[in-house]
């Protein structure tokens, strides 16, 4: 059939085309994949036990045996960084996941219904945005208790306003579209129209937001544990590793801060570049 030849390029073929022509996005995608693999296989990849201390070997600079050096208790920094990937990604992904789901549903209904609900939600979002968001996250962790799950909740809450606004705006411009009316005419309820038609339609644009937010969420979560909130000391986590290494920076022990910092930076870089790339693939209109 000649129809296949005239078909519009599929998402996959378009994605391959973009990845092939845009090396940076391809690298970011590969980097993200690598991160996920590290997170999954970290226990088998790590050369040493990440929490076993070996005091005679403390504060060793990078060497062949410990290629990222050792910390003040003689623990292997490379192993700790590898193990921490899982926790850091878990915190970021679950926080962004929670705020995406809740934000999309709230924003979707607000954009669809409008009216009083929309005004009130808008007002609450405005007040949330009036707080410096990192300070709000700090206060939330203080209020809910200094535990790891509360870091996730706090990070989710400070991400929420963006998703609510985004979903609201995107649904709002589509709510009078022909296909929405068609769905209504077919007997779909309002709830079903929002959940089955409007939100899936908005999803591609939101995927960009998710990728960009993941990097931000990792920075926030690491910042919170850097100041001593959430994840507690012996657990390998990038923010805590930097906090512990901070004491030794004035005596020139750069590797305690440098390597976990590099891990944070590369992770955020991957997510940000992937977000930019996703924008090109999914939503060519928003290209910068």
């Amino acid at each position: 059939m000649s129809a296949t030849a005239l078909q519009r390029p599929t998402l996959v073929s378009h994605a391959t085309y973009v990845l092939r022509s845009n090396r940076i996005t391809a690298c970011a995608a590969a980097g993200t994949l690598l991160l996920v693999l590290i997170a999954v296989f970290a226990p088998w990849l790590a050369p040493y036990n990440p929490i076993a201390s070996d005091v005679p070997q403390a504060l060793q600079p990078p060497s062949a045996a410990h290629w990222a050096g050792t910390d003040q208790l003689g623990r292997d920094i490379a192993s700790r960084i590898l193990l921490a990937t899982r926790l850091d990604l878990f915190i970021a992904v679950s926080a962004v996941g929670i705020s995406f789901i809740i934000g999309a549903v709230i924003g979707g209904f607000c954009g669809y219904r409008g009216g009083r609900l929309d005004r009130w939600v808008g007002r609450i979002v405005d007040v949330l945005m009036a707080f410096p968001l990192f300070v709000l996250a700090m206060a939330l962790v203080a209020a809910l208790g200094n535990r790891m799950e509360n870091i996730i909740i706090a990070t989710a809450v400070i991400n929420l306003p963006f998703y609510v606004r985004f979903a609201r705006a995107e649904v709002n411009v589509r709510r009078n579209a022909g296909w929405v009316e068609a769905a209504r005419a077919c007997g779909d309820s309002h709830v079903s129209v929002v959940l089955r038609f409007l939100l899936p339609n908005v999803l591609p644009a939101m995927a960009v937001q998710i990728s960009l937010n993941l990097g931000w969420a990792i920075l926030n979560a690491a910042g919170l544990s850097f100041i001593g909130l959430g994840v507690q000391a012996p657990t390998p986590e990038w923010g805590i590793m930097v906090a512990e290494g901070a004491r030794f920076i004035t005596t020139g022990k750069w590797w305690l801060v440098g390597f976990p910092g590099l891990a944070l930076m590369l992770t955020v870089l991957c997510f940000n570049l992937l977000g930019d790339g996703l924008r090109d693939i999914l939503d060519p209109r928003m290209r910068t």
Partner: protein
């Protein structure tokens, strides 16, 4: 013109009241869900009897309905009573007043550095899109948002204190052996300048530079990116072509005509950036042992002393709301068209 600005100021101040009220309510709600019963906390000790705790609850108004407690809270804030810090034993307001200048000095210096670096960089990148400098700026921006402030701060300490030895010991606002300036404004740079003590001024400035630069680095990216984008848009518009065809000097076109028109979006993003900076304050103050409100609140938080934390959250949100008002007013001054509508 002045009357229009005054009117605008008044209108914006009034319209910021709901946001401020919302901030107070959220802070109150946070306080209500704080772990533990404040009465038990304030009681003499773990041995405090049930009767004593009941009396305290009554005295603190904790046995009253929540709306009444909220009203009491509002009255307290209006009177400037934010409770006492358990760690320092002082009223929180007093502690905050003493420590706020350090934080503001840091934040505003950082903002100044960031603007002084990012606007020229953005303009340069916009003047030659696709050139080497454009790519360099883009790379700087991409990397800048990826490095957490606490890591870049520590690496800057390593570089400038340990390796090069240019920066002083990163532990306070001023060297412990140097004398502090007379307490006039609380801003060391201003106080030293007022009494003409330039050695002291230099000591304070060199202490301030590294933390301020750390903070500036983090917000450089959004500012430079926005300057570039908005300059590009303005440079392509008709009135710039007209100015060029009239033979105006290049620097006059760029600075007086293009940049002034391109500044509005930059101003908008400055408001958002300021919020980021207030948050980053916590991290930077911890890295540099900077004795500001953020490190004060953080110490209190880790010691389960919640009155300073609440006051801090309230203060930061109020500052942010006020900065947004100021930015709105600046809008009207930079672009008179905004105040007409």
């Amino acid at each position: 013109m002045l009357a229009a600005i005054a009117q605008r100021v008044a209108r914006r101040l009034i319209s910021s009241i709901p946001a401020l009220l919302g901030v107070v309510v959220i802070t109150f709600v946070l306080m209500r869900v704080l772990p533990g019963d404040p009465a038990v906390f304030f009681a003499s000790g773990p041995s405090a009897g049930k009767q004593e705790i009941e009396d305290l609850r009554h005295k603190m108004g904790l046995d009253q309905p929540v709306p009444i407690q909220l009203a009491h809270y509002l009255v307290d804030i209006a009177r400037g009573n934010l409770g006492n810090s358990l760690t320092t034993g002082q009223p929180v307001v007093q502690d905050m007043r003493r420590k706020l200048p350090a934080s503001l000095e840091l934040t505003f210096t950082a903002l100044t550095i960031a603007l002084l670096l990012s606007v020229p960089l953005g303009v340069l990148a916009a003047l030659r899109p696709g050139s080497l400098i454009d790519h360099a700026v883009r790379m700087l921006c991409t990397l800048g948002v990826c490095v957490p402030t606490f890591v870049s701060g520590l690496l800057l300490i390593y570089m400038f204190y340990y390796v090069l030895g240019w920066a002083p010991d990163p532990t306070a606002r001023i060297d412990i052996f140097a004398s502090t300036p007379p307490d006039i404004t609380g801003f060391y740079l201003i106080d030293f300048a007022l009494v003409g003590d330039w050695n002291g001024w230099w000591a304070a400035a060199s202490q301030l530079l590294l933390p301020a630069f750390t903070m500036a680095l983090f917000v450089l990216a959004p500012l430079a990116r926005m300057t570039r984008a908005s300059m590009l848009a303005v440079l392509g518009s008709d009135f710039i072509r007209t100015a060029r065809s009239l033979g105006l000097k290049q620097h006059r076109i760029i600075i007086a005509y293009a940049l002034r028109n391109a500044l509005l979006p930059v101003l908008t993003i400055t408001g958002i950036v300021f919020s980021t900076m207030l948050g980053a304050n916590v991290l930077v103050e911890k890295v540099f042992s900077w004795p500001g409100v953020a490190s004060y609140a953080l110490d209190a938080l880790l010691a389960s002393d919640y009155a300073p934390v609440q006051a801090f959250v309230l203060l930061m949100a109020s500052i942010f709301v006020m900065v947004n008002v100021a930015i709105d007013i600046l809008y009207g001054i930079i672009d008179p068209r905004v105040s007409i509508e």
